[in-house]
Amino acid sequence: MVVLAAVIVVLIVTDVMNSRPDKRPDNPYEYTVDQFTSVDTALVKYTETIDFTFGDLDLRGIAFANNRLYLVEDNYLMVVSPEGEKLAKSELPESPGCVTASSDGIYIGFRNYIGQYDPDGRLVKNWEPLNDTTVLTSLAVTDSTLFAADAGNRRVLRYKTNGILSGSFTGKRDSADLHGFIIPSPYFDLAVNSDGELWVVNTGKHAFENYTFDGQLRGFWENAAMTIDGFSGCCNPAHMAVLPDGSFVTAEKGMVRIKIHKASGEVLAVVAPPEEFKGETYAPDLAVSPSGDIYALDYERKMIRVFQLKK
């Protein structure tokens, strides 16, 4: 009798002790990718030099042109000097998704239309809106052609810089293919490099594809892997930019890391390993200055982080 009573007391006390926050058992179903988050420090060739913050603004896109940084956030377009000084600010009608700029002007991609602004940030005109399922995620401009990546309809649109839509393509590798660009999530990036080549990131296939301006596939490389040489998860890299020497800076989401790949695909260096993005899952948007400095727009910390080559 007394034994049973003692048993009851012991059971209750043990239960109380075991449910304290520091005595709880570990997760037997822990999902960890720790073996991939640690990066060989010899590969990390860049270091973070400066950070700019602009208060609590929700930054949405970044571009570098004309020795200026163009930032778009929920309601504003901001023109900033490379040292972080605010030079101009103008209001936007709705929340933008992406931005690109050239010496002729600034182009801001809203959800389903593009807004054309002059280099000082004043609206020139808003281009024809596209259909309801359009989600513009990236813009790239060269001379008089502008490319827009439409993630919603899985296609790349080609505009003339006066706003006229001159073509689009869906990136089918083979005409018998059912689908071209595989875009599972609203991240679809493209860029034109200094040689005038259009490179599009086919995120679903973890591939970099080189197209002619009217959509003919010239070549591609792909690498789906959690290890440092490839792109992790289901659809990466979410953002990319081209460096002056033709190599690509890539930013992945999920296990956030910024790397540099050769134009032919091999990984060259790591700009920022996952430990620089502890607790984050969104890939930073990228812009590159002509001197090779990498500007990363960290959405979660709401700041621009500048990475430069280590001395």
């Binding site: 449910s19 058992p25 179903y29 999902y31 599972p184 999530s185 289901c234």
Partner: protein
């Protein structure tokens, strides 16, 4: 009336009065739900897949199950929630699957899309697929309390241990919070 009956009656009156006061103050100053039915619900945006949904439920097989919000799924070949990280062979082999019980089933739709469906009888709410999908995919897999299994305890044992306080009591009309229901503005995932 003798002393005993007097004490008896007045005591009863006082206790009745106390009950009336208690009931009155609760009915008039607090919220009393006449519909009566409140159920437990996991907020999928707060959940961090700690694995306690599987181990802490009073039922031996947890009343929490993984649910697929198909609206959000990318139908990827390389599903972040299906495959172990860095698998090379994208097939249905058990060694490449994340799910410890094989509850997440993969079905070919058309090149290169696959449909992922959960067999609830096998799911043990461990949350591995949810974590994988959330970190490396669109986040369409989520853990939800299934109310045909849930005992609707007065105090949910899992809720007590949830590190993010993701489990709360909600009226039965809003019992399920499945992502991708864009009629409900609270459920649109930020960016």
């Amino acid at each position: 009336m003798n002393r005993k009956t007097f004490i008896n009656n007045s005591g009863r009156l006082i206790l009745l009065g106390g009950l009336v006061y208690l009931t009155g103050s609760i009915i008039f100053k607090r919220k009393v739900s006449a519909s009566g039915k409140y159920v437990w619900q996991i907020d999928p945006f707060k959940c961090m897949q700690c694995g306690r949904c599987s181990t802490q439920c009073v039922r031996e097989i947890s009343a929490v199950k993984c649910v697929h919000a198909y609206q959000l799924c990318g139908y990827c070949d390389l599903c972040g929630g299906y495959f172990k990280p860095n698998t090379h062979k994208l097939n249905t082999g058990a060694e490449s699957q994340l799910c410890p019980t094989g509850a997440l089933k993969r079905k070919y739709v058309e090149e290169p899309f696959f449909e992922y469906k959960i067999d609830e009888k096998l799911c043990n709410a461990c949350g591995k697929c949810v974590k994988g999908c959330g970190s490396f995919g669109n986040g369409s897999l989520q853990l939800q309390i299934r109310h045909d299994l849930c005992q609707n305890c007065n105090e949910c044992s899992i809720a007590r241990m949830c590190p993010t306080n993701a489990i709360s009591r909600v009226p039965i009309e809003a019992a399920y919070q499945i992502k991708g229901d864009f009629k409900n503005p609270a459920l649109t995932n930020p960016k």
